[in-house]
Structure formats: C-alpha cells, structure tokens
C-alpha cells in the first residue's frame, strides 16, 4: 500500500494544473452564464473543488502537509456556506416562486 502522496505523484503535476484550470474555468463560466441560483451555486462549488485539487497536488509534490490541511478547512467552510446559501435560495424560492437570479435586482440605485 503506497502512501497517498506517492500515488498522487504518479501523475505529472502539469496534468493537475490543466485539469483544475479547466474545472475552474467551467465554474466561472457557469457562474457568469447560468441564471438558476442552484446551478450557480454548484458552479461555485466546482471552483472551490478546482482549488482543492490544486492544493492537494501541490502539497503532495512539495511534501508540505499545510496544503492538505487547508483543503479540509475549505471543505468545512464550503459545507457551512452550502447550509446558509441553500437556506437563502429556499427563502428566495418561497418568495419569488423562482430561483432565477435575474429577478433579484432590487438592490440597486
């Protein structure tokens, strides 16, 4: 049984970079283009996970556990965020009967 970092190192670092860049871009584009709040939310999660992936990869390559610790941290924060965020979305849905963010433009001028 190999250590996880060793397993991770079996794939070249560049691949992780390309992959997480792709994931992140998908997330960004999703946030920018989609109107459904839940989809936007998922895209944000996608971006977070892209970062997590990168952190893990670098931690393994540089033999620095801080990166992995940070990943746990982010996961915890993301979980909390999901709680609050989903609650807000539910409330919005109850009020507007929709999750379309384009309708939420009252906070202006």
């Amino acid at each position: 049984m190999n250590h996880i970092p060793e397993v991770i190192r079996t794939i070249p670092l560049e691949y992780y970079l390309y992959f997480s860049a792709a994931l992140f871009s998908i997330g960004v584009i999703g946030v920018l283009t989609r109107r459904n709040a839940i989809v936007i939310f998922m895209c944000v999660e996608l971006m977070l996970n892209a970062v997590n992936l990168l952190l893990t990869a670098f931690a393994a390559y540089r033999s620095d556990p801080n990166g992995q610790v940070f990943v746990f941290f982010i996961m915890a924060v993301a979980a909390a965020e999901v709680c609050v965020g989903l609650a807000i979305i539910v409330m919005i849905y109850r009020n507007l009967r929709s999750t379309d963010v384009q309708l939420l433009n009252h906070l202006k001028w």
Binding site: V28, L32, V101, Q102, L104, N105, H106, L107, K108, W109
Partner: protein, 652 residues
Amino acid sequence: MQEIVMPANRPEMALLCLLIPLLPFIGFALNGLGNRKLPKGLVGLIGCGTVLASFLISVYLFLDFTSSGSRPYTVDFYNWISVGSLQIGFSFLIDQLTLLMLLMVTGIGFLIHLYSAGYMSHDEGFGKFFSFLNLFMFSMLLLVMGSNYVMMFVGWEGVGLCSYLLIGFWNKNTNYNNAAKKAFIMNRIGDLGFLLGIFLIFITFGSVSYPQVFAEATRVAGVDTPVLIAITMLLFVGAMGKSAQIPLFTWLPDAMAGPTPVSALIHAATMVTAGIYMVVRSNVLFILAPTTLDVIAIIGLVTALVAATIGLAQNDIKKVLAYSTVSQLGFMFLALGVMAFSSSLFHVLTHAFFKALLFLGAGSVIHAMSNEQDIRNMGGLKKALPITFLTFLIGTLAISGIPPFAGFFSKDELLAHVYQHSTIMWAFGLLASFMTAFYMFRLLFLTFFGKFRGTEEQRHHLHESPAVMTIPLIVLAVLSTFGGFLGIPSVFGSNHIIGSYLSPLYNYAKGINATPFEPMHLSHETEYLLMGISVAVAIVAIIIAYVMYVKKETVPVSEDTPLSPVHNLVYNKYYIDEIYNNIIVRPLMWLSTAFYRFVDVVLVDGIVNGVGKFVTFSGRTLRYAQSGAIGFYVMVMVFSIVLILFLNFFIG
C-alpha cells in the same frame, strides 16, 4: 532739533507733563460717564476747569523751561510697544515747539470751552459735547507732546476721531453724519500716508523717536535721496489730509456741520494746523528733501488760490470762514515750502487767534439769529450785536492783513519769504490775499451792515450773546490785535520774538543747509515796498467790497436764479465733490456690489459649489452602473481580475 537732556532728578516735572493731557482726559471720562446725570453747571465746570488747569500747567512749564536755560527734555513713562528693534515709548518731548503749541492749544481751547458753556447751554447733549471736547484736547495734547512719530500718530488719529464725533454731534441729521464720515475717511487717507511714512522712517533710521531720527538723518542721509523724498512726501500726504490741502480739502467745509465752537477749535485754530506742526517738527527731514518742499509750496499756493476763489461766492457764514481757513492753511504750507518754518508757525499762531475769533463771532451771530447761517438773510446786525460786531471787525482786519493787527505781521513776513524764493509765487500769493480781504469784508458787510433781511421772528429774537460768550471774543480780539507784535520784522528795528525763540529747533537743519535760517537778504526798501503793496492790495479789496455791498447794497442772488458759468463753477466749488463722487465713491460702491454679487457669489463660491455639484452629478450618473443584477457584477469582477492578472504578468 537740539541736544536733549533727560530730567534726571525732577519727578514732579514728569507728573506735571502727564497732567497736561490727563486732566482733559479725566474731564472726558467724568462727563462721558456722567452724561445726562450731572447737572449742566458741574459739567461746564469740569469741562472748562480741566482745560484751564492744563493751560496753567503749560504756562508754568513754559516759564520753568525758559528760566532754566531752554534745554529740551523728554519725559518717559513706559514702554508702549516693543518688538525687536522697534521700541515705542509712551513719552513726551518738551521743547520750544511743544511749549508754543501747548500754550496755543490749551489757551485757545480754554476760551472756546468757556464760550461753549454759553453756546451749547440749551442743547440736551451738553455733557456729551464737553466730554468730546475734552477728549479732543487730550488727543491734541498727545499730538503735540509726543516724543516720537507713533505718539504723534496717536494724537493725530485721536483728533480725527473727535472731529468725527463732533461734526456728527447732532447725529439725528443724516447730512451731518455724512459730513462727519467724510471728514474721518478723508483724514484716514492722509493717515495712511503718515503711517507708511512712519514705517519708512523706522526702516531707514531704525527708530521712530524724534531725537534719534533727526540725529541719524543728519548723519547718514544724503540730500534729496529717493528714500528721503518718499518719507517726506508720505508725511506730507498725512499733513494734506489733516490740514485740508488739495486734493484732500473738501471735508473741511462740510465739517461746518458741527456746532460752531467745534469749527472754531478743531477746524480752524488747532487740529487743522497739526499738519504744519508735523512739518516744522520734521524740519530736518524736509530740509533734506528740497523736491518735496517744492511740491509743498506749489500745493500750498494752489490751495490758497482755489479756496479763496470759492470763498468769494459762498453765502453760508461758516462756509466762507471754512474756505478762508483752507486758504490760510495754503499760505502756511506755501511758507513751509520756501523753508520759512518759523514764519509759518507764526502765522499758525496769529491765525489761531483771529480765526477762532471769527468763528466764535459767527457763532454769536448764528446764536442770535436762531441758527440761521445764510448771510443773504442777515444784514444790519451791527446795532443788535455791538460786541460781536466790533470783535468780528478786528478779526476781519487781522485776516486781511491791515496793520497793526496780528495777521499783517505774520502774513507779511510769510510773503516776504516767498518773494525771496520766487516772485511769481509771491504774486499769486498776493492775489489770494487780495481775494481774502475781499470776501472777508463781503462777509462782514453783508452780515453787519445794510438792512435786516431776516424774518420778523428772527428780528424779534435778536440779542447780544451772554458774557460767557463775549468774554472769549474780547480776549481773542485783544490777542488778534496785539498778537502780531510777537514777530515784528527786523526792519522796524525790533526783536522777532517768535523767530529767536524757535531758532534752536533748526540746529540740525542748519548743519545741512544754513541759508533759509539766515536773516532775509532783502534790502529795507524792498521790504517796505512789499509791505506797502500788500497793505494797498488789501485796502483796494476792502474798498471794492464796500462799494459793492454797502454803497450798492448788492445781495447775492438766491438759490434758484441762474448764474453765469464762471460764477456757477465757483459757487459749486468747481464741482470737486461731484468729481470725487463720480470717480471714487460711485465706482467703489459699484465695485462692492459687483464683487459681492458676481465675483463672490457667482465666481468664487460658484467654483466651490461647482466642485460639490460635480460630485453630486458624478454620483447621480454612475449609480446606473449599480444595476442590481448580480450576474453583471460578477462578470465585471471576473473580467477585472483577469485584466489585473494580465497586466501583472505581461506588463508589470
């Protein structure tokens, strides 16, 4: 200026010196604070008594001074302002000039105070009047006693203030108030010149106290250097304002709005001669600047002529006297311009006697005529006012230069000096003197001769003034008659008392240029001739006046009759007031409104408000970027981040 000795062991002299101005000040304070509460008798007593005491102390100081070797001394009280090298002491200088002025100011001042006690007795502002009069004495005494230019300036402005207060004494009348304001402001124009002169003196000589300035001036300054011309011209601007010389003379005739004793004291006998005092005091500086002296002579002569011509056509008894004052002051400056300092001062003295007399006489007439001042409505007052008439006649003879009255000696001596300097100036001076004799006798004849032209009511009310008013008249008449003997010219083989008394004043000046202080170079024949001519001219003028106003009984035409152009021009004082009004006052008023309405509110504040408006406008415009659509915000954010990263990697 002579060497100054300090009174080392005579503190009582310091006290006496202090009391001279302080007593009138105490009178001012008592009468001012007790205004409307003190009885009139007490007010008059305080007012006159303090001035009399000052006069007596002045006499004592004078006797003490002459008996102890005529050595000038200063009395230092305390350091008034001291900043770095600028040290201004509150101190007095006692010398020949100061003492002469002291005697004149307090002596005539007392007589006029006494007269006022009668003249103003019916006025509700009796206490106020005496307190202002005493304040004037205080300021005038500071002016002549101060031992440095700043002290002189203190008195200088102080008398200006009192003049303001007293011209506008009856302050319910807006015209009087305007006259008072005009006097103060015109004086202030001169004062600015004086003030700048003081600054320049301080910068040039490092001090403002007379002894140091004069010593330094003789030591370092060359003759007619620009800085000396500047200093003396600036000082002369001050003198122009105070002594009503062209172009700053129009306030003096207007100043006649004040009660008549005020006109006599301030606007004839004392305050207006402060300019001459200042020039005589600074004779060292002026001797060093012949250019300025030429200017002074010309301005003096022009003023004498212009004022005399205006005097020919005036119908207000006080206005005639006012223009004659301006004209006489012009004579005095003419004398200063030809470096006849003592003669000028001699004329100041005799003028104080006869002009105070004339004004008080005029006051007596006005009093009798129930405040009528127009000579067209007078006439034939000779019988009703015998004492006033007689004294007024003496004053008129004196001012016209008929021997042996005071004016003859002083004016003659003055004109002789002018003759020595320039024949043309003398000729013009003679012309002015001719006009003086004419309009003064015109005034006399119209007032006291012929038929009474006033209303029945006035005729009924005619009365000779009470003794408290006639006694000063008589005293002044005596002085006007014999005052001239103080300066009998040397041709008559007698000693010129004033001249020799004042001569130590010019010790420094003699060191620079002794010529003006030597006895006159004229031959005796010339001198007799000059006297003869001026007396003859005066007599001719009197005869013409007699023929016109007594024989033919001409009365000046009333207001609404059209006049010939020349007469009209002179009658309206060459429209100088109108000219000033149009070229100075109105533009200033216009500028004030323009500055306020347009520059301040629209331009300067407009820019300030413009900045505010720009911010508001920007906010109002940019808020549309705040659309509320989250997607838009996020997009902007992403693009911005990309842009920053891009710039960071590829540019920076």
